[in-house]
């Protein structure tokens, strides 16, 4: 406890860094996987390729990816951007399948009826399919958010500081409290993001709110 108060400033800084590292991959993951997921949903030829590649991406262990990225894209090795890019890749890999399934789940009846009513092709995607896919996308985004927040801490092993610093430092100093604080902070961030996603999702899908009567 004492330790926590004495180091509050440091913990707060790491928490902020952790949050700042978690948010971009989640947002970017969503931004990239929506169009890709639609593509995979719409065109059979692209589905196999996209889903296979994303499945492959997801199996890459995080640590080597963090390390090899700067070599590949020419960023500096301590640049947090490496972690952001790597986690964005994972986010896309995870979300792509969900987004595809979300678009798949839009009922054929609604598709037919939007066609019959005279929506243009673009209007059908943006005004009908996308909103109706949202609830499933949101569910997928929650998983992505939790796993991203958890993975950010691995960045500490390559010098990108986050709450993960507390894990390595606590480990080297035989100091479980420090690690527990790190875990607690991570869960807090995950919880906060989850809440934001759930609320955002609810706000975007007013028709899902009322219980069926």
């Amino acid at each position: 406890m004492e330790w926590i108060f004495a180091n509050a400033e440091n913990i707060w800084r790491l928490t902020r860094d952790h949050f700042a590292l978690s948010l971009p991959p989640i947002v970017l993951g969503l931004v990239f996987s929506l169009p890709l997921g639609w593509l995979a949903h719409r065109y059979r030829w692209s589905r196999g390729a996209l889903l296979t590649v994303s499945g492959l991406l997801y199996t890459i262990p995080s640590l080597p990816l963090f390390v090899i990225l700067p070599v590949l894209i020419g960023t500096k090795i301590l640049d947090p951007i490496n972690v952001v890019i790597a986690l964005t890749l994972y986010a896309v890999a995870l979300l792509l399948r969900t987004v595809t399934e979300a678009f798949d789940s839009v009922s054929p009846e609604v598709r037919q009826s939007s066609l019959a009513v005279g929506f243009s092709p673009l209007q059908r995607v943006t005004r009908v399919e996308l909103p109706l896919a949202l609830p499933i996308v949101v569910a997928g985004l929650r998983v992505v958010s939790a796993s991203t927040v958890s993975l950010v801490s691995v960045g500490s092993l390559i010098g990108v500081s986050s709450l993960g610093d507390l894990f390595t430092s606590g480990f080297q100093r035989d100091f479980p409290t420090e690690i527990m604080v790190g875990i607690g902070g991570t869960i807090l961030i995950a919880g906060l993001l989850d809440l934001l996603i759930v609320l955002g999702g609810r706000w975007c899908t007013p028709w899902m709110r009322p219980a069926r009567s």
């Binding site: 009846e109 609604v110 037919q112 009826s113 939007s114 066609l115 019959a116 009513v117 005279g118 929506f119 243009s120 209007q123 009908v128 909103p131 109706l132 899908t205 007013p206 028709w207 009322p210 069926r212 009567s213």
Partner: protein
């Protein structure tokens, strides 16, 4: 008037759903297309608003070949009502009905005003206007579907088994309601069903299809009942079955009409004195 001229539709997988169909659908009447599952009813209906494009042959609306028209624009001037209503689940009742006027360029205000009027037309309480489709009963949803179909004030209304999924009581109610609306509005309605009772009740003209969109018989209900063109039609309308073979019996002082199973079909109003041949 809608005219089919030797229209054939083959799907890419080789199924020929409709083969060389020629048919005239008169304006301002209700034409019911009836046939069993898979005989091509939906395909015929969808060719009218180009959700499905004919493989060969010509379809004309008031002498205008529809293949020359822009499909999206065409659909916006033809009403379409389908089974399970096909309402957009993420929009309120009002916005569902207002969809087509909005697409046609009306302002939000005008579109909503129109939508409110239509709720009255189809007999829906205004209190339901801001609900979502999932908050309505099946029958209410179908009414909204009809309101949406009428929203663009189309001359033509296509209805694909619109009452197929609601329970019989509600179904009867909706059928009566449709007849009332049609008396007022006199649209060109093309109505698809596989229920011959429904076809007889609603159709000014009934078209009985067999497999592949071939017409087995078309005509007024009474004509078809009294003179089925062939065995297929007779069996389809049940004329050869116990249910259609009626007799009467007096019970509790009233004349009950019974079929051969003894199932009562109704009460006879007047004892026919020989009857009058209308021909």
């Amino acid at each position: 008037m809608i005219t089919f001229d030797s229209v054939t539709k083959s799907f890419t997988d080789g199924t020929t759903a409709v083969e060389s169909l020629s048919l005239e659908i008169s304006s301002r009447t209700t034409t019911v297309i009836v046939g069993s599952s898979g005989c091509g009813k939906t395909t015929i209906l969808r060719m009218i608003n180009r959700m499905v494009d004919a493989t060969s042959g010509t379809i004309r609306i008031d002498d205008e070949d529809i293949s020359t028209l822009n499909p999206v624009a065409l659909r916006r001037r033809i009403g379409y009502v389908m089974q399970n209503s096909g309402l957009l689940p993420h929009r309120t009742v009002l916005d569902n009905v207002a969809t087509v006027p909005l697409l046609n360029g009306d302002t939000k205000k005008v579109a909503r005003q129109r939508a409110r009027e239509l709720l009255d037309t189809v007999g829906l309480d205004q209190a339901l206007a801001l609900r979502y489709p999932s908050q309505l009963s099946g029958g209410q949803q179908q009414r909204v579907g009809v309101a949406r179909g009428l929203a663009a004030n189309p001359n033509i209304l296509l209805m694909d088994e619109p009452f197929g999924a609601v329970d019989p009581l509600v179904r009867t109610e909706l059928q009566n309601e449709l007849q009332r609306i049609q008396r007022d509005l006199a649209k060109t309605i093309v109505f698809v069903t596989h229920d011959i009772e429904e076809a007889f009740q609603l159709g000014d003209q009934v078209v009985i299809l067999r497999e592949g969109g071939h017409i087995a018989q078309s005509g007024s209900p009474a004509d078809i009942m009294s003179a089925p063109a062939d065995d297929f039609v007779a069996s389809f309308i049940g004329a050869d079955r116990a249910k259609r073979t009626l007799h009467t019996r007096v019970l509790n002082g009233r004349t009950v009409v019974l079929d051969e199973h003894g199932t009562p079909a109704g009460l006879l109003k007047e004892v026919p004195s020989g009857g009058m041949d209308l021909r």
